[in-house]
C-alpha cells in the first residue's frame, strides 16, 4: 500500500465531515501517484483557508503561506528550482479575493505551475462570509441584506488573460478532476482549475444537489482552442454548468525564458545531496562565493 501511494498522508484531517475538500484531496493524490514523481520532487503551495490546509494532508513538500499569497512563493519556488513540480491549492477567497492581483500577474508571467481552486463560493474557515464567487442575494453575517456584488467568473477572466490551460471541475467527480489536474500539470505554463466544491457547513445554496443537477461534462465536439468560443462558453452558468477543459492556448513560459537567457536551474552546487541518518545533522558553513574572478571584474568597473 505505502508503495503504491507514497503521497498518502496518515494524520488527522480537520475538515468537516462531508466537505468537498476530501474529494479534491483524493483527486490530487490520484494525480500525483500517476506522475512518476517522488514526494521530494513535488511542492504543494497554499495560502490560508480550508482549501489551503491541503498541503498538510499530502506527503510531499509544502509551503503553507499567507492568506491570498500562494502564487508569489509558488513563482519563487518554481523559478529557482525548475525540476520541482509545483501545485497550488487555494480557495475562492484566497485566490480570487485577497490574492486577485497575483493571479493576474502570475498568468502574465506564465510560470509552469498548476493552480487548483477549491471554489465553494464562500469563506469556509472564517465561518461563512461571502466570497468573490458567492451568488447575488446570499445572506451571511457580513452580508445580512444579501450579497450585491457580481460574482467573479474565473473562467471568463482566465480566458481574457489568455491562460494556457483553463478548466472547471466538480469535486464529486474525483477521477474526472484528477485527469484535469494531470493535464494541468502536463501543460507547459500556467494551468488554472476551478473546482466547484460544496461547503456543507456554510453554503446552503450551492449544495451537492445544486451542483449535481447542473454540471455536465463537455464532450469532444467542444473545441477549447477557439478563444472567442471559449469565452462564450465561459458565460454559461445557471441551469447548466459545463465542466472540463474550457480553454487551451500556448505561449512561451517563464521557465523557457530563463533557459533562453542561460540562467540555469540552480540547486546551489556547493551543497551535496544531504543524507538521511538517524541523528539530526548539525549545520555547517559552505562557501557559496560566486566566481571570484567575475566579482573582481565587477570591481574594475567602478
Amino acid at each position: 500500500m505505502e508503495n503504491t501511494n507514497p503521497f498518502h498522508y496518515e494524520g488527522e484531517l480537520s475538515w468537516c465531515p462531508g466537505c468537498g475538500d476530501f474529494q479534491i484531496l483524493k483527486s490530487v493524490e490520484k494525480t500525483l501517484t500517476s506522475l512518476n514523481k517522488k514526494p521530494s520532487e513535488v511542492v504543494l503551495v497554499s495560502g490560508i483557508g480550508q482549501a489551503a490546509k491541503l498541503p498538510h494532508y499530502i506527503h510531499a513538500n509544502g509551503f503553507n503561506g499567507l492568506h491570498g499569497r500562494a502564487l508569489p512563493p509558488a513563482f519563487g519556488i518554481k523559478a529557482f528550482n525548475r525540476d520541482l513540480t509545483v501545485l497550488v491549492t487555494t480557495g475562492d477567497g484566497d485566490c480570487y479575493g485577497e490574492g486577485g492581483n497575483h493571479l493576474i500577474h502570475a498568468i502574465r508571467r506564465n510560470i509552469d505551475i498548476t493552480v487548483i481552486v477549491h471554489n465553494n463560493q464562500v469563506y469556509g474557515l472564517t465561518k461563512g462570509q461571502a466570497s468573490p464567487t458567492s451568488e447575488v442575494g446570499m445572506v451571511t453575517k457580513t452580508q445580512p441584506y444579501g450579497v450585491v456584488s457580481l460574482p467573479f467568473n474565473p473562467i471568463a477572466f482566465a480566458i481574457a488573460m489568455d491562460t494556457p490551460f483553463v478548466a472547471r471541475s466538480y469535486s464529486k467527480e474525483i477521477d474526472f478532476t484528477a485527469e484535469l489536474i494531470r493535464q494541468g500539470v502536463e501543460t507547459k505554463g500556467f494551468a488554472l482549475i476551478d473546482i466547484l466544491q460544496p461547503c456543507v457547513s456554510f453554503n446552503k445554496i450551492n449544495t451537492y444537489q445544486w451542483y449535481s443537477q447542473r454540471v455536465y461534462k463537455l464532450d469532444n465536439t467542444y473545441d477549447p482552442t477557439n478563444r472567442v468560443k471559449a469565452f462564450e462558453k465561459s458565460l454559461e452558468w445557471g441551469d447548466k454548468i459545463p465542466i472540463g477543459v474550457i480553454y487551451r492556448s500556448q505561449r512561451q513560459t517563464y521557465d523557457e525564458t530563463l533557459d533562453r537567457l542561460g540562467i540555469k536551474p540552480q540547486i546551489n552546487p556547493a551543497h551535496n545531496l544531504i543524507q538521511r541518518g538517524s541523528s539530526q545533522g548539525v549545520m555547517c558553513g559552505v562557501n557559496t562565493l560566486p566566481d571570484l574572478s567575475k566579482v573582481k571584474s565587477l570591481l574594475s568597473e567602478f
Partner: protein, 572 residues
C-alpha cells in the same frame, strides 16, 4: 597645498546634470583625487530644479558642503537660487545666450555652451562642452576625459565619439582662450592612488552579488530602485533570477518562496513598499526563512518627499510584522561598509534563518564617493547546511541555539513543510500550548548567537577617559547611525581642530542592539549628542530603552535634506 573644492551643477531635470557630473567624477577619480558627490532632485522627469554637488580634495571627503566654489548653472533659476552660495573668488559658469544674469560680478564666467555645441555638431553636446570648460577651470588634463568618452560611447559608434571629443576640446579651449588668467586653485593629480568611484546603491548591489545573491524580486520605488537595477544588470552574468513583481507583497513572498527552495534571496524597497511587505516579513519570522531586505528610506508619512532623504523607518523596522520574532537590522555608514555589511547580511540571515534588514536612505543611495578598492579577499559568502538529516526530517527541530537544520527540496529524498501557523518540529500546524512555548523560545534563543556576530559600533575620535578618573576631561560623544557616518566624522575632525575633545560612536548594527559595547564605549562621556535624520530622535529612544542612557542633546533634521558639517556645528 591641500585643497577642498565644492562644485554645484544645477538645472532642470532632463538638462543633463548627470552627464556632466559623470565625466567629471570619472576624470577626478582617474586622477587619484578624492571626491564625494550628492544629487538633490525633485520627483519629476523634466523641469523643476535639481542639482549635483561634487566635493573634491586631496584627502578623503565624507560629506557635502552647503556652499560651493564653483557653480555650473544650466538655467536662469539656478543662478538665482545658488549665486549667494559662491564666495568671492569662486566661479559661476553659465551660458550667456540662454541664461539671464542680473548684474554679473567677476565670479561669472560666460561660456556659450549651446553655440559651441552646435559648432561641434549638435546641441545635445552642450554637456560635454560644460565638462570641458570645468576641467580647464580646474586645470586638469583632458586626456582622461577623452579616454572616458571613448569607452562610454563605444557602443554608439565612431561618429558619436568624434563629436563628443570635439565638444570636449572646444569647451576646454574656449575656457583657456578666454579666461587664461583665471587661476582657480592648485589641484594636484595623485595618479598612484588606487580608488574606486561607487555610489551607495552600487555598493549594496555589488555586496549582494559578492554575497552570493541568487534571487531578487522587487517593485520599483525611489530611492531603492538603484540597488535593484544594479543587480538586475548583472543577473545573466551571475546566474541570478531577477523579477519585477506586480507589487511589494508579491516581491517579498516570491523571495520567501525562492528561499524555501534554497536560494539566497532578497528584495529592495522603500517606505510604502516596506509597509506592504510587513505581513510577509512576519511570515519570514515564523517560517525561519532567510531573506535580505534593503529598505532605502525617504521622508514620510505615505508618499512624503519621494526623492529626498530621511531616517524615519528605524523604530518601525525594529517592530515591523505582527507577532514577535528576531531579526537583524544593519545601517551601514559608508560605501565600503555597505558592501561588506551586505555580504554579512546574507551570511547571517542564512546562518540564523531570520530576515536581515539593510537600512540605507536616498542620501546614501545616490551619493558617489571614491573609496579605496574593496579587499575582495576579505569576502566570504557562507551558506549553512546540515550534512545529514533525521528520519523523518525535522525542519523545525528544537535545538539549544535555536537554529534548526535547514535543507531544501530535492537535496535528498526527504520532504518537509514550511508553515505560517505555529507548528511542530516537522512543520505541521499545531495548537498545543507547550509546543507553542517551545517554538517561541527556540526562535528567540537565536538572539544570543546573533548578538555576538558582525556589527560592533565604530568609535572614532578622542578616547574617553572614565569620568571618575583624575584626568577626566569634558568629552562630547556624537552618536549616530547609517548614512550620517561621514558628516559626523568630519564634524569631529573639525571640532578636534578647534581643540575640542570629541568623538563619534556610529552604529551599523542596530538589532540585536550591541548593548554591552554601547554602555562601555559611552562610559565617561560627559555629553552625548544624537544626530539623526528624523523628528522623533528614534535611535535615541532605542538607546534609552536598551541601555537606560539618555542623550543630552538631539540634533535632528527632517526637511528631506542630508546633514552638513555646517548644520551640526551651528547646533552645538
Amino acid at each position: 597645498m591641500s585643497f577642498d573644492i565644492s562644485i554645484k551643477i544645477a538645472g532642470q531635470a532632463g538638462q543633463g546634470i548627470q552627464s556632466i557630473a559623470e565625466i567629471l567624477l570619472k576624470v577626478l577619480k582617474l586622477n587619484g583625487l578624492h571626491v564625494f558627490a550628492y544629487q538633490d532632485y525633485m520627483s519629476r522627469v523634466r523641469g523643476g530644479h535639481n542639482f549635483m554637488q561634487v566635493r573634491i580634495s586631496d584627502s578623503p571627503v565624507y560629506s557635502i558642503k552647503e556652499d560651493c566654489n564653483i557653480l555650473v548653472a544650466l538655467d536662469t533659476n539656478s543662478v538665482d537660487v545658488h549665486r549667494n552660495e559662491v564666495p568671492k573668488g569662486g566661479a559661476i559658469i553659465y551660458d550667456p545666450h540662454s541664461t539671464m544674469v542680473d548684474s554679473p560680478d567677476n565670479r561669472f564666467i560666460p561660456i556659450p555652451m549651446n553655440n559651441l555645441a552646435k559648432e561641434a555638431g549638435s546641441p545635445v553636446l552642450s554637456n560635454t562642452i560644460s565638462a570641458g570648460s570645468i576641467l580647464a577651470l580646474l586645470d586638469i588634463d583632458k586626456m582622461d576625459a577623452e579616454e572616458f568618452i571613448k569607452k562610454q560611447f563605444a557602443k554608439k559608434g565612431e561618429e558619436v565619439i568624434g563629436k563628443n571629443l570635439k565638444a570636449l576640446a572646444k569647451g576646454y579651449a574656449y575656457f583657456l582662450e578666454n579666461f587664461r588668467n583665471w587661476k582657480f586653485t592648485d589641484i594636484k593629480a595623485q595618479k598612484k592612488n588606487k580608488t574606486i568611484l561607487i555610489n551607495g546603491s552600487e555598493a549594496v548591489g555589488f555586496g549582494a552579488i559578492a554575497g552570493g545573491c541568487q534571487f531578487i524580486a522587487a517593485y520599483p520605488m525611489s530611492p531603492s530602485t538603484g540597488v535593484f537595477t544594479y543587480i538586475t544588470g548583472k543577473a545573466k552574468e551571475f546566474n541570478i533570477i531577477s523579477e519585477q513583481a506586480e507589487d511589494e507583497i508579491a516581491a517579498i513572498n516570491m523571495a520567501l518562496g525562492a528561499s524555501f527552495a534554497g536560494a539566497r534571496a532578497m528584495t529592495t524597497t522603500s517606505g510604502g513598499g516596506l509597509s506592504l511587505m510587513a505581513e510577509g516579513l512576519s511570515l519570514a519570522g515564523v517560517m525561519e526563512a532567510p531573506v535580505v531586505v534593503v529598505n532605502a528610506q525617504r521622508p514620510g508619512p505615505a508618499t512624503g518627499l519621494a526623492t529626498r532623504t530621511g531616517q524615519e523607518d528605524l523604530e518601525y523596522v525594529l517592530h515591523i510584522g505582527h507577532g514577535e520574532f528576531p531579526r537583524f537590522i544593519f545601517a551601514p555608514g559608508h560605501h565600503e561598509e555597505a558592501f561588506f555589511t551586505t555580504i554579512h547580511a546574507f551570511n547571517l540571515s542564512d546562518k540564523y534563518q531570520v530576515p536581515a534588514f539593510i537600512l540605507i536612505d536616498q542620501y546614501f543611495a545616490d551619493t558617489y564617493a571614491t573609496e579605496k578598492e574593496f579587499d575582495l579577499n576579505k569576502v566570504k559568502a557562507i551558506s549553512y547546511q546540515p550534512s545529514v538529516v533525521s528520519t523523518p526530517y525535522l525542519r523545525y527541530k528544537i535545538t539549544k541555539d535555536g537554529v534548526s537544520p535547514r535543507a531544501y527540496p530535492m537535496q535528498g529524498d526527504f520532504t518537509f513543510i514550511a508553515d505560517s501557523h505555529e507548528h511542530t518540529e516537522n512543520g505541521h500546524i499545531t495548537e498545543d500550548g507547550e509546543v507553542r512555548n517551545k517554538m517561541v523560545e527556540k526562535r528567540f534563543r537565536k538572539l544570543k548567537g546573533m548578538q555576538k556576530e558582525f556589527g560592533k559600533p565604530t568609535y572614532y575620535g578622542d578616547k574617553l577617559v572614565p569620568s571618575g578618573s583624575e584626568k577626566g576631561k569634558a568629552k562630547t560623544v556624537f552618536i549616530t547611525w547609517g548614512s550620517n557616518y561621514g558628516v559626523v566624522r568630519e564634524t569631529v575632525d573639525c571640532l578636534k581642530k578647534q581643540k575640542r575633545s570629541v568623538a563619534m560612536l556610529h552604529f551599523n548594527r542596530i538589532y540585536p542592539f550591541p548593548r554591552k559595547e554601547a554602555v562601555s564605549l559611552l562610559k565617561g562621556a560627559k555629553e552625548i549628542i544624537t544626530v539623526e535624520n528624523n523628528y522623533q530622535g528614534q535611535f535615541g529612544n532605542i538607546l534609552k530603552a536598551e541601555t537606560g542612557i539618555e542623550a543630552d542633546r538631539k540634533i535632528l533634521k527632517y526637511d528631506g535634506r542630508p546633514f552638513t558639517v555646517e548644520y551640526i556645528l551651528k547646533r552645538i
